[in-house]
Structure formats: C-alpha cells, structure tokens
C-alpha cells in the first residue's frame, strides 16, 4: 500500500495545559477589561464592569486598551493586566479575526495564572473551541452572546452585557 503523507505538518503535540486556578469568589476581586478597540468594545466592556460591580461586588475595574487590532496582545499589555487584575474580561469577539485574538489573549492570560473570559458571539463558537484545542488548552471556556455585538445600539448592547456578566462570573468562580 502506498505511504500516506500528512500535509498538515508539525510535530505531534505535547501536554495539555490547564486553565488558571478558579477564584473562590469574585467579591472584592480586581477586574481588568481588555479592549481590542472594535466598535463599541470599550462601551460594552464598561457596562460589563458596571454589572459585575452592581451584582457581584467586584473590586476595582480597570480598562486596558490592547492597541493591536486583530493581532495577539503584546506582552506589555498582558503584563499590565497581570499587575492590575485578578480576573479579566477580554472583548469583543464579533468578527473572525478579533474573536480568534480574544480567545488567544484569554488563553495567554490563563497561562499567566489569571482567569480571563473572552466574550465572543455565537457565530464563531466552533472555530474558537478548535483554537483552544490547538493552543493545548481544550478546557478554556469563554462567554458567548448572540451575534452581532459591536454594531448594536445602546439598549441592545446593554442586553448583551447583562448576558455576558453572569457567564464571566460562573466561568471564573470555582464550584
């Protein structure tokens, strides 16, 4: 039988990584918001931060802009978040490249020991789950809201934020 060649390259992968340890509770914990500067990302994340404070009594909330649209977050940005946050909300993933980068950035933060929840729309879920596997962290979980997101007006944006914030909490908390 003729030899079969694998055109997908690479070496067989290594060990599976676990996400960062979960928090016992988000109460009093500092929240970082990683803004990828998509339209209304800052607005959406701000509302999520407000809901986390209002309903879940988190501590200080800090917005950190990524300044690298559709690219992975630079190390300085991840360092900054590690300084100011105990948990991070990464947003927004409402397009192909930005949702991929949100999950990528979330996983990079988890590797640094910080629970980081990417907020992406349902349109991109299958690919994002596969990405987590390719990044050796198949256990990585992100928040999912209906599509679209950034183009919405304020009231619908707020509705999406109300859906996202409880997901963030249940993902980062243990038990």
């Amino acid at each position: 039988m003729t030899e079969f060649f694998d055109p997908t390259g690479g070496v067989d992968t290594i060990e599976e990584l676990s996400p960062a340890p979960r928090l016992v509770s988000v109460e009093g914990k500092r929240v970082g918001l990683l803004d990828n500067s998509k339209t209304n990302a800052d607005k959406f994340l701000t509302i999520v931060g407000e809901i986390l404070a209002r309903d879940f009594a988190v501590g200080e909330v800090t917005m950190v802009p990524k300044n690298a649209l559709s690219k992975p977050a630079p190390p300085e940005v991840l360092d900054k978040l590690a300084e100011v946050a105990d948990l991070v909300v990464v947003g927004i993933g409402d397009c192909g490249s930005c949702s991929t980068c949100c999950v990528h950035d979330g996983i990079e933060l988890e590797k640094r020991g910080i629970p980081a929840v990417a907020v992406c729309t349902e349109a991109f879920v299958p690919g994002l789950k596969a990405l987590a596997g390719m990044r050796n962290m198949p256990g990585y979980t992100f928040a999912v809201v209906p599509h679209p997101l950034g183009v919405l007006f304020d009231d619908e944006l707020r509705e999406r934020a109300e859906l996202a914030a409880p997901q963030v909490v249940s993902i980062v908390q243990a038990g």
Binding site: P7, T8, G9, T13, G96, T100
Partner: protein
Amino acid sequence: MGSIDDYVALVNQYIDKDLTDGLPVIPPTRESVAAMIAASGHEPGYVLGPQPPFGKGPILVKDVAVNAVLAGCLPEYMPVLTTTIEAIMTQTPRWLATTAAVAPLTVINGPIRKQLNVNAGTNVFGSVGFRANMTIGRAMRLCFLNLYGARSGLYDRATMGTPHKIGWVIGEDEEDSPWGSLQSDRGLTDSDNSVTVMIAHHPIEVNHLDGRTPEQILGAMADALSIVVSFNTAYRKGAAAGEADVLADGTEREKFERKGLKAVLFLAGDHRHHIARAGWSKDDIRSYVRLHAGRRAGDFRALGYTGLKLVDEQAPDDTWVELFDSPDAIDIVCAGGMGAHSAVSRVRWSVTRAIPDPVGA
C-alpha cells in the same frame, strides 16, 4: 503501483480526510517530495513562517513541498511558492481569516515567467490551462488550508469569500509595458525575479471601448474604485490611547489615523497604449487616479457609513472625501490581453519579495 482504481482510492483518502481543496490531488511519494525540497534551494527544515493559530508548528519547507506535490506543481515552481508563502506567513496571516472577500493575488516578475510559462496575457485572471498559474495558486491555498488551518468555518470566516481563493497567480506582461515592470517600481531590475503578493478584492472590470484619452480611461478606473463600499475599507482606526485632536472650538476628539487602502490598476493592452501615446508616465497615472478617486460624504453617509469617521461629523454632505492617502497607494500592473477591458482591485496589503536563485541551480 496498482490500477487506476487504487490511485483513485488513494486520492479519495486525501479528500475524505479533509486535506485538499475538494479537488483531486497528486498523492505524494518520498521521491516527489524530495524533488520538491531539492528544487526549493532550502533545507527541509527551513522555516518560512511562525506557528499560526491553527497550525501544528512553524511553516517548514518540507511541509510546503508535500502540498506542492498534492497541487500538481512541477519542482521548478518551488522557489516562487516558498517566496510567496514566506511573504504571507511572516507578515500578515490574519488576512487569511477575515470576514472580508479578499484573496492573495501573486504577480510574478522577471525571466522566471518565461522559464515556467506563466501566463501574463489573454485571460490572465482565468489562466486555465497554464500549469504554473493554476498549480502555484492551488499549492498556496493548500498550504493555507493544511498548514495555517484556514478551513471554511474554522479559521477562514469569510462571509462570502471569493473564487480567487482557489488560486490567483498572474505574470506581468513586462515586454508589452510602455513603462517597465511592477518590480522596477520597487527598485529591482529586469533580470531579477520577484513576486508581489497583494491581499486584494475581486477585480472590477473597467471596460471602456470608447475611451481614448488617459483622462477618460483613468477617470473610469477612479470611478470604479470609488463605489460607496470602498469607503468602508478606508476607515480610520484609533491611535494610541490618550491622543486627541483639539478642534477649533477647543473640544477634544479622539484621534484617528487613516487605515491606508491601496489599489492596483490592471491596464489592458489597448488602454496602456492610449495612455502611453499621450505621453503619460506611471506617476502621472497614479496622481490622476488618486485625485479623482473619492466621493461626497453625503453619498456614503446616506447609506449608513457614518460610524467610520472618515470625515468630521459636522462637515457638510458635499465635502469631498478622498479614497487614497497618496498616489503611492496605487500600483500599476500591465497584464491581460489586447482589448479595452482593464480592471481595478482594492488592495488591503502588499509586499514585493525577490525570488532567490535556488542554491546549485
């Protein structure tokens, strides 16, 4: 080797395992892969690009070689293929995942066109029957699929996509250019070989049978580029946090930068000769198109392109908004056959790379 049925069964294995573009492939063998690697002039482990998000590892020549065999390439195509893969994978792989309808266009310059029989003339965008154009483009796409993970719905999230994803490789008709080649615009000489890789939108045909003057022909090209949706792609992005413009009334507005849309003008046979006869240079062409490519703000605002901040919100509807930052954003390629059917494409990114001579070739 067994029968045709055995061969077809093997081909179907590759297709069924989702390792192809859906079309039949040439199953690799150790010898055919080795021949590809040898023709590339690189070591098998030479790195053409870093590990992509959906890739298993860095992009290696030996893996590109496997995909080149699958695509039906001849070994002599490898230097072109590895140069284009390196250009894309080191600089802008994110364009392979976009929701936009773009695809890499590869323009080949230099004597290598004749050596490989790369089509640069009639039916250049649909170079059916030219093995070099068809299989180099196909091999690029197989590399994107297999090594980058740009599978439909997985990492390739293009909403509509474009047929050019199957392959889009052309030569420039340098011999018929009144002004010299695209690569000469980049400072290379006629004896160099190079590829210019552009992430480009589908070409818009500019058929102008009555056009005789540069102004008529290039005016039509500028008009074709200035469709309302082009103003979506030229949006401004935020600058570093904290920077602001101070307006005349003292209020601050978040600072924006122009994203930098580009274009390529494909000048067909008849048109390039009309323009050259009038004594126009490439610089004249670029300047004219840049001056005339634009639109009234009201045209795109009326259709809801208001959030992209190309023009100040208070500016009146008849404010002229130019599409390109400078004439340098516009490239010229002399390709296609005779006839008065030129074309234009909006371009999001572009790079030119010399094709190195394979060691020992």
